[in-house]
């Protein structure tokens, strides 16, 4: 059911209206799913849309083998004004929505939008944010957790992505939706896959499948025949991440792929001179690890981040029989 959650007149045109979709009982355990925090993260938008259709089909009896047991809400678009332009942020205030939470009930437009999301999700038990890699980076599909205690890591495993990663502490984390959810007592998860401005159908399939599995595992969705699949996940603490920086400035040609395991000394790519094309540097894996993030934009400065490796030796496995 599509519900209006915010309606603000704009100075010169149609009002800005934000919506959420909601299914299930009023007072059930609630899963809130948010996408579109930035105006260029397409995968989340596509997953939200496909998931909404799937849940509508169940509600309308077209998926007779499934029943909605808990409350599920989806907020497909948060930074509406940024989506109008296709930029990550609204150029009017240059404010990253995911550095504006919890916002204010009466304030600047972006603050009001953030506060609306907070108020509508505050009573939820679980929160999922659909994301991609940062601007100019591509992420292998993985789940990010704040304060990853054992329960949360087990919950994360049900999302079906094989890699779990702790969100590193930072001074600005408190302005993120995931952290605000954490402070409000929600189990919050960030699902990241792909890169901005690009729709990856395969990643969206993975995310969709994982979220449906999570809903089944947590009893939000009941399925007559299909069992909840138990999946394994390797989990990496924040201090076990290995950022790989360039030593030279130029054009970065990746020679590795996200989602692959590298041995120490394996070639991640090379930096070539922009003007003469000569190879200035071979970028090698400083240690063995899993390539979770890779630079997508070829122009790199000296000391530019081109990859993030998750160190294999420190991973903790969460097996399906945990």
């Amino acid at each position: 059911m599509k519900e209006e959650i915010l309606n603000i007149p704009t100075p010169f045109g149609e009002p800005l209206i934000l919506y959420k979709n909601r299914w299930g009982p009023e007072n059930g355990d609630t899963l809130s799913i948010v996408s579109g925090l930035q105006g260029d993260r397409l995968n989340g938008l596509m997953v939200a849309s496909r998931l909404s259709r799937f849940l509508n089909d169940i509600e309308e009896g077209k998926e007779s083998s499934s029943q909605i047991q808990g409350t599920i809400q989806i907020f497909p678009v948060v930074n509406y004004k940024a989506w109008e332009t296709g930029n990550p942020v609204w150029n009017f205030d240059s404010q990253d929505v995911d550095l504006t939470f919890p916002g204010m009930e009466v304030g600047e437009l972006t603050e009001t939008v953030c506060n609306t999301v907070i108020r509508h999700t505050a009573e939820s038990v679980y929160g999922i944010i659909l994301q991609t890699g940062e601007k100019h980076y591509e992420d292998a599909p993985h789940v990010k957790l704040i304060d990853p205690n054992r329960k949360r890591r087990n919950l994360a495993r049900r999302l079906g992505l094989h890699i779990g990663r702790e969100v590193a502490e930072s001074s600005s984390l408190v302005l993120n939706l995931a952290k605000q959810w954490d402070l409000m007592g929600l189990h919050s998860f960030i699902l990241s896959a792909g890169k901005p401005q690009t729709y990856h159908p395969h990643y969206c399939d993975l995310l969709l499948d994982g979220i449906v599995n999570f809903m089944k595992a947590e009893g939000l969705l009941l399925h007559n025949s299909e069992k909840v699949s138990q999946r394994e996940m390797a989990f990496f603490d924040a201090h076990n991440e290995c950022p790989v920086l360039t030593r030279k400035a130029g054009l970065f040609y990746p020679e590795s792929a996200i989602g692959t395991a590298m041995e120490k000394g394996d070639k991640l790519g090379e930096v070539r001179d922009l003007y003469e094309g000569v190879v200035l540097e071979e970028v090698l894996a400083p240690e063995e690890g899993y390539v979770v993030t890779l630079r997508d934009h070829p122009m790199v400065h000296e000391k530019e981040l081109v990859a993030v490796l998750l160190r294999e030796k420190n991973q903790r496995w969460f097996w399906p029989f945990g």
Binding site: P88, S94, V106, L109, H136, S171, L175, P243, H297, L305
Partner: protein, 322 residues
């Protein structure tokens, strides 16, 4: 004056990015105090650059004509975000990163993060007192003021009083400050005054004049300069306002705000300070009134407003009773 390059990295285009600071050393022996001025964290805030120019110009003259006046050390970081300054953008180009949301603990990944951390570390190591100079954003114009988070007011207020700004605003803490330069330096016991003045992408020479005189008085008061040039006038003491001493007017409608008052004017409660108009229908949506008697120290300059948008702040003559 000694010029020091703090951090540099080569650009793929052939040039390099650099942070430069100017150092004025004590004439003899150990400096009585080391005072740093930093500006340009946001690349569209130019008032601070002009203020730094005024300070460097004046201090060079003193060093040439009266070097023994330097009892302490002055460090000036006039343009700490050159990529954004050169592009006229608030945020670091390519990434759209806000350098003043990357101070304090932060994983050192992207170039803007590394850059911010270098500045932070250098200021921490080489300063006993820091003045962090900002202009306002695109939307609001501000009288020259010093903003102090309540928890630091005991130490900072006596210092701020020496600067002769129009207003010293002691305000509550909020999450948004946790990743700023000022908050993190103050947390580490490096007293840091945050200046706000004018509006971005413009210079108000009169405001900068007042700030320049104030900063020279501060250097004299701290013993860094044994004497002041004769052309530095004395100035009246600032008005100190506490959280309850600031009242704000916000738009109740979306439309076009046209102000009827001038920044720095004294206003009376319920005096009309502007209107919100519907330009399409040609009607007045709202008469905006002053929220109290006092000094108008913030005024909306960008006319397009949404309901909830901040239009004006008044430093009240009297705090309202609790």
């Amino acid at each position: 004056m000694k010029t020091q390059t703090l951090f540099s990295c080569a650009s793929p285009l052939g040039s390099s990015l650099k942070i430069v600071k100017q150092i004025f050393s004590a004439h003899r022996g150990k400096p009585v105090q080391r005072v740093s001025f930093v500006s340009g964290l946001h690349g569209d805030e130019l008032e601070g650059l002009y203020l730094c120019h005024r300070l460097i110009h004046a201090l060079r003259q003193i060093q040439e004509t009266q070097p023994e006046a330097f009892q302490g050390e002055v460090h000036i970081y006039p343009a700490v975000n050159p990529p954004a300054l050169n592009n006229g953008t608030r945020l670091w180009p390519v990434y759209g990163s806000d350098m003043n949301r990357m101070m304090g603990p932060h994983p050192r990944t992207s170039i803007p993060v590394q850059w911010s951390q270098e500045i932070f570390e250098n200021l921490k190591e080489s300063s006993d007192l820091v003045v962090d100079i900002h202009a306002s954003n695109l939307h609001l114009k501000e009288l020259p003021q010093i903003r102090i988070i309540e928890e630091f007011s005991e130490e900072l207020l006596p210092l701020a009083l020496q600067t002769h700004t129009d207003i010293i605003w002691i305000h509550p803490m909020a999450g948004v400050f946790e990743s700023t330069l000022g908050y993190n330096l103050n947390k580490l016991n490096v007293p840091t005054l945050v200046v706000e003045t004018g509006i971005c992408l413009r210079i108000e020479p009169d405001f900068v004049d007042r700030l320049f005189h104030g900063m020279m008085h501060l250097l004299h008061h701290q013993g860094v300069l044994a004497s002041l040039p004769s052309d530095i006038p004395s100035a009246p003491s600032p008005q100190v306002v506490y959280p309850r001493g600031v009242a704000q007017a916000s738009a109740k409608h979306s439309g076009l705000f046209v102000n009827r008052v001038a920044l720095g004017q004294r206003v009376g409660e319920d005096e009309i300070i502007g209107q919100v108009l519907d330009p399409v229908e040609g009607i007045v949506l709202e008469e905006v009134t002053a929220p109290g008697n006092g000094l108008l120290f913030t005024l909306r300059e960008q006319p397009a407003v949404h309901s909830g948008t901040l239009l004006a702040r008044v430093a009240l003559d009297r705090e309202p009773k609790p």
